[in-house]
Amino acid sequence: MEDYIHKRVDRIEFGFMSPKAIKEMASAKIVTPELYDKEGYPVDGGLMDIRLGVIDPGLKCKTCGSKLKECPGHFGYMELARPVVHIKFISLIYDLLRCTCRDCGRILIPKQKIDKCMEDLDHAELEGGLNARRDKIKEIIVELKTVNQCPYCKAKQFKIHLEKPTTFMEEEKKVSPIEVRMRLEKVPDDDLKVFGVNPAALRPEWTILTVMPIPSVTMRPSITLESGERSEDDLTHKLGDIVRINQRLFENINAGAPEIIIEDLWDLLQYHITTFFDNEVSQLPPARHRSGQPLKTLTARIKSKEGRIRHNLAGKRVNFSARTVISPDPKLEINEVGVPKIIAMKLTVPERVTEWNMEYLKQYVSRGPENYPGANYVIRPDGKRKRITSETKEQLLEEIQPGFIVERHLMDGDIAIFNRQPSLHRMSMMCHKIKVLPGLTFRLNPCVCEPYNADFDGDEMNLHIPQTEEARAEAEILMHVPTQIISPRYGLSIIGCNKDAQTGMFVLSKKDFKLTREEAIDLLSSIGITEFSRLPDKEIVTGRDVISVLLPKDFNFTGYSKKYKENKEDPDAIVKIEKGHLKSGVLDNANLGEGQGLLLRTIYKQYGPDFASEFLGRIFRLGNAVLAFTGFTTGIADIDVPSDIKQKIKDIIDQTYAEVDQLIKEYKEGTLETLPGRNMKETLELKILEKLNKARNRSGKIVADNANPDREIMVMIQSGGAGNLLNLAQMSACVGQQAMRGGRISKGYNKRTLSVFKKDDLSPAARGFIKEGFKDGLKPHELFFMSMTGRDSLMDTALRTPKSGYLYRRLANALQDLKIDNDFTVRDASNKIIQFMYGEDGVDVTKSENGRINVKRIIDKVLAED
């Protein structure tokens, strides 16, 4: 066993390095901008000095003696010819200059008030935390700006302002960094505390750089191009500029050059050092490559999405994962995922060799990476990972003994985590069991499309293979599909029966659906049922008998089908299950659907996740099997309308047109009565819109009322499996008004939408009303209006997605560490109370029925038990 030394991070202190500390830490003094000599060897005292660390294989570090990848790199330093301001501390320097005396360096607060000030700060911190203290400091600074006499030495204070980015001006005169540094040196330690500066970690004069630390070569490695040429890192380029200008400044000062030249060089040095720290200072032109792209300097390495924090620290990349297109497979269980063989042979599961499974695992090794199911790697106890190839296979087979780990191919039943972005809720990542299949796509049961929000128009999904026992156990217990059937958002099933299966179950549960016992057995055995004793021993059985075979024997349930809303007296309206037998009611999507109905929730609650999942899988396959058994097709004839009905619809539309004409006439005469808060024009538009919508709804209703409920399209609509009444109305009767921004279409030419209309034509047809249905076909102008709204909504979704994504990111970040404490209060990471009772009622929605607790059901259940 290895011995580990365990230590705990107590706190992290950030500070600033003094010039002395920089020199002590440095292992080389850098004096020349040259990188390599003629032989290509790093120059001593150059920026690639070998004392700063190794980046070439084979070389040893001159400072620590270790090789590549072992040497962490070492800092160097450079003496600056003239001091330079550190851009990141400009605001601190500015505050200090304005709030301290230019002569004696004391803070511009009289002695007797300082203590009071500190008290105020401590009080603010106690009340509102560190942020409140910082706000208070800002207030003090604002007050001090206007003081014009030092309370200590009575010296007159001048107005100082900052000429951005780095120049300080006092009464139109420039204050050089040397002068600034001298003033900052004079500020006593005690006065700094008022500004929130800890003098032990940061003396203000250190922010005026006199010595420049040179980062190690390991943090700015050069790349050798294919041509053998070396390409240096952006930081090295920038440092080269700094060293070059610095040397020139030195030479000019020593040669006694005129002050203007020195000033210019000094400014240039300031520019280079500023852009070295931050190349995106708003007042400075960014330093660029010869190609014109800006250099990536220190700040750019840390900041924003591509920076160290969000890209490398918060954004983790993983091995043992796969991504491909998804497609549906209704024959899979809902907790399965079909994985292409080619992926199953790339991803592996580590299995530890023991005495008992050695022969078994050797079989995998001997099959190797080419034959499925084989193995790709063998890991020896010392951690060496050996790839299995035809050459190494024999040797590895001999070598293998308990303690080795074999990385074998994926097989049926292995655990995987399946995910689709955007991962907006916990059901976006669920644990599935693997099923290796031919083909190149991931296959999933259509039932789990809803939680992933997936469809099959080219969506891709990711698969992850947990690599340890703990990870697998955790995934299976916490995120297995059966455990996720009930949504924590509304406490109903989010995974339910959909599409064809829904329609099939509806057909099967209809009252008059009959079939012979043989046919029933045929149906049931096709979905994997082999136990038929619960099927009535009769020549002819009903569809409800078939469904009852799947229900648990002691299951009682009362629910409402979609028909309940329209007509409570309908014999199919109330779904009643008694002792595992479906007595009445049809199973439409109000009971089996996603996000509604209590049937699945009740089964989940009573019989557990695994049974619910299996039950759902059976129901789903049974529905599909019924459709395959009875045959189910919808054709163009389904949306045919008898001619008398057609005439009725035409009459309604004609009548509406006449009414609209009347309205327009009134408007033009000015006799139209205006609605409160609207002008004449708005009133007209509103009234027309209302009339037209009414016409569409009325014709839609006529179609729905007269449609034959036994036609397939009506069956689909009634079951909730596909389509709705609006779709049907639009196909067979009238498409209706096309709306843009909540009103009728009014864009296009001057005072008209298309050139086929007269100017100021306000009639329905000229403003985007489509009186035709899809089946009869649209007129040219109607098609044009339809295309307009089609494009508009396409644009709308394309523009809204990134907006809502960012909104969600902010929300998730704001809420990320809220938790429910064990006294039901919601608290944040610092234990501050956000809510005194979770959701104000303390209800765990997952364990409720649509957010409520059904007391009646509980009482009924308790009474039934007696």
Partner: protein, 89 residues
């Protein structure tokens, strides 16, 4: 021209009677102690309310007092919330 500044009394700007304003009450010392104990929390862990908040005009609250707010809730019917009075802002 100096015009007389119109001032309203606290009673005149009392907003507590408005239907949208939930009931605000000042907790007694005993109640405050009980609440602090119940939630095992410090006063600084509680949500805050500014002393200048209009709802406090006639309550004569001082910084550090605990205000009990009884709200209508969509989920729970009635719900109790506490805020501690603070000086700043």
């Amino acid at each position: 021209m100096a015009r007389k500044k119109k001032t309203r009394s606290k009673e005149q700007i009392e907003i507590k009677n408005h239907v949208f304003v939930p009931k605000h009450e000042k907790c007694s010392e005993a109640e405050k102690k009980r609440v602090l104990e119940k939630y095992a929390a410090d006063l600084k862990d509680f949500p805050k309310i500014s002393i200048n908040d209009p709802a406090l005009y006639t309550l004569e609250a001082a910084p550090g007092d605990l205000i009990k707010i009884t709200r209508e809730s969509q989920t729970a019917g009635k719900t109790v919330f506490y805020r501690v009075v603070i000086e700043i802002q």
